[in-house]
């Protein structure tokens, strides 16, 4: 691998030459960041180009092995790439659950055939993956899930219902937790399987949220056929994979709402909306709230950095992702409440081009789910209590 300085110079020049102008603007709408897959509609040619040139270098997944199409970069080189992208405000060329969740799981637990089949398609953004976890009666108590998966000799047959399946209506494939042994203890009879959702037996119904958007679906599975080669890891050992994936999900959700460097900060926004009097924000109560939030946000950022550094050096506590998920999502909810305070009544406009079709209100409402999805805040507090603090363990 080339040394970091050379890599930085080359990367800067390459990005300058290859990142199209529209892909350097802040991502505002959902569609502005490409999720890929067969059903994706590129908002313009530049979005398509940006995905393709980045994917060609493996830089949609810069730290994945090059043999499966990844960038093959180490942690330090990835850091430089991210810094150089941030410096020009380059958007992520691809955002997906393939990249953040099932990809890392397959690289760790998958068979060679699974890696060869799925990883290059994730890197290239060709397949959109969705996650089949929660069920109508098993949300927080995920391990109680009841979707059945029976061995039919040359294939598996899956029956049941999933809910809160993110963008199942846009997806191509699902990674799905199923019960393979109904008689075993609840954590011991679960497996993880992969299947194409574009097949008979899979029906999908979007759920309209309070935000007006439908990022989640109900997914009904009736006699869905699953190839036997698509079982990930060992049969009935799926809970370990589920835990691994949940950790990734917690980290992903916890770090959302960090905004990007080019987004207007809350203080900038407030100065614009409220104005300064003698150099001080004209609404002193709002000023205190914003400064308090900014301080907490810095504390959160430093903590994410510290926990990463501790993990790298073998220090630190396990279950740290629960702490970050809890703190990060509560912080993001507060950020959006503050944003309402800064913008005033216009933030609650629901329609009209002048109000970006209710974007502010819709985003604010969406954040209410952050402390529910991926394990509620209360579940994270349970994990901290038991696994870190050791509370309630009788002696």
């Amino acid at each position: 691998m080339v040394d970091l300085d050379t890599f930085r110079t080359e990367t800067r020049a390459w990005l300058e030459a290859n990142c199209p102008p529209t892909q350097r603007q802040p991502s505002e709408e959902f569609e502005d960041t490409c999720w890929g897959g067969t059903k994706w509609r590129f908002v313009n040619e530049e979005q398509r180009t940006w995905l393709n040139v980045m994917a060609e270098r493996g830089w949609t997944a810069p730290d994945w092995p090059a043999e499966y199409g990844g960038g093959g970069l180490d942690r330090e080189h990835v850091k430089v790439l991210r810094q150089e992208m941030a410096a020009i405000g380059a958007r992520q060329p691809l955002f997906s659950m393939g990249l953040s969740m099932i990809g890392p799981a397959l690289l760790k637990y998958g068979t060679e055939a699974q890696k060869q089949q799925h990883i290059p398609n994730i890197v290239a953004g060709k397949i959109w993956w969705c996650q089949g976890y929660s069920e109508p009666n098993f949300g927080s108590d995920l391990a109680g899930l009841q979707t059945r998966c029976e061995d039919k000799g040359d294939h598996y047959l899956v029956n049941g219902q999933k809910v809160w399946t993110s963008y199942a209506n846009m997806a191509d494939w699902m990674f799905c937790l199923v019960r393979t042994d109904p008689d075993a203890a609840k954590h011991a009879g679960i497996s993880l399987v992969l299947f194409d959702v574009n097949q008979p037996g899979v029906s999908i119904k979007p759920i309209r949220l309070i935000s007006g958007k439908s990022p989640f679906c109900e997914t009904f599975l009736d006699d869905v056929i699953v190839d036997k080669g698509q079982l990930v890891g060992e049969i009935n050992k799926g809970w370990e994979l589920a835990s691994y994936l949940l950790t990734h999900e917690r980290e992903m959700i916890g770090s959302m709402g960090q905004g990007n460097a080019h987004e207007q900060s809350l203080p900038e926004h407030a100065v614009e909306q409220v104005g300064l009097e003698n150099g001080i924000l004209a609404d002193s109560a709002l000023r205190t709230d914003i400064a308090g939030w900014e301080i907490d946000n810095m504390a959160y950022q430093f903590t994410a950095e510290r926990i990463g550094d501790e993990a790298k050096s073998g220090q630190g506590v396990g279950a740290a992702s629960s702490m970050l998920k809890y703190a990060g999502t509560e912080l993001n909810k507060r950020r959006h409440e503050l944003n309402l305070g800064i913008q005033g009544t216009q933030a609650l406009a629901w329609e009209g081009e002048a109000f970006k079709k209710g974007l502010v209100a819709s985003q604010w409402l969406r954040t209410k789910g952050n402390s529910i999805e991926g394990g509620t805040s209360e579940i994270q507090l349970n994990i901290i209590s038991k696994r870190i603090l050791g509370l309630g363990a009788s002696k």
């Binding site: 203080p267 100065v271 301080i295 430093f302």
Partner: protein, 379 residues
Amino acid sequence: MALVLNEEQSMLKESAKGFLQEHAPVEALRTLRDERDEVGYSKDLWQQMAELGWAGILIDEAHGGLDFGHVGMGQVMEENGRTLTASPLLSTAILGVSAISLAGNTEQKTALLPAIAEGKLVATLAVDSGSRHKPLNVGVTAISKGSGFTLSGEKRFVVDGHVADKLIVSARTSGREGDSEGITLFVIDSNAPGVDIERVIMADSFNSSIIRFADVKVAADAVLGELDKGAAALQQVLDIGNAYLSAELVGISQEVLERTVAYMNERKQYGALIGSYQSLQHRAAHLFSEIELAKSVVIKLLQSLDEGGDNVPLLASVAKAKVSEVATLATNEAVQLHGGIGMTDELEIGFFMKRARVAEQLLGDQRFHINRFAALNGY
């Protein structure tokens, strides 16, 4: 730089922990309080701490110190927060040393720093003139008289004032209260004629004092740093002081959390450990999360101090604001989760609560630093 301790820093932390827990646990502070000790700390203990090199952690090697850096000293202060050890570490080895190192000339450094490193000289910083931290309202005037100066006025809540040999005093040599221009730092003998020091017993049983200056005459060489331009160095010293108060407050918070969790796993009500009740578990878990956030801002600030980062003022206010909030929460929750026994003087939790509030107030509380943070960011 990775936000973790290196091997030497970890070793210092471990040795500080071992030493303080063996020689100066909270029980020692209780004894000093109950016996109304005139010094307010053990001189023998301070001598031992100096022999371990702690008095000189921030002093360069040329002046007899270890030059071990801020991250290292931060670990000692954090451990100090766990044991509430009374000593001149804050007044002398942190505030005094920083002021002399940052502002002093060669003669002053040579005269003062080696003596501090050996544990033979106690120095302190007299900055506030009232009950609220306002570093630009100095409360003491220094009028040029012949080749020297005459100081008059009053300083309040000066740490270790009544046992200090040297007082580092911010005084106004020109301009008006509130101006940053016109502040000068002086090093003054505590026994100089006209200096009256009154010890003030605080809730936390640590040393504090009121110092009155009545026409105190000092020579020109008492000026520490540049005439009229002392505010910049003073502000750096205050940022350093706040870094260590924050480190101490993290130690306090972590200690009371651990003690509270241990109690929750021991105390039974309705036939079950109170730690098995979810309503209490969640309060402890929330506190854990907040303390993790607090730890990160402190190590970030200490590293930035060692690197000479230009974001030190901002990070100092981030740290003091966040850590003060967390330490208040931690000590309040500790009392509440202990229940009635948490209200008793016999349990040590109360000592931590009292020290936390005093440390929070010193050099600016949470609200002071929220205001400063916003101002530094231009809003």
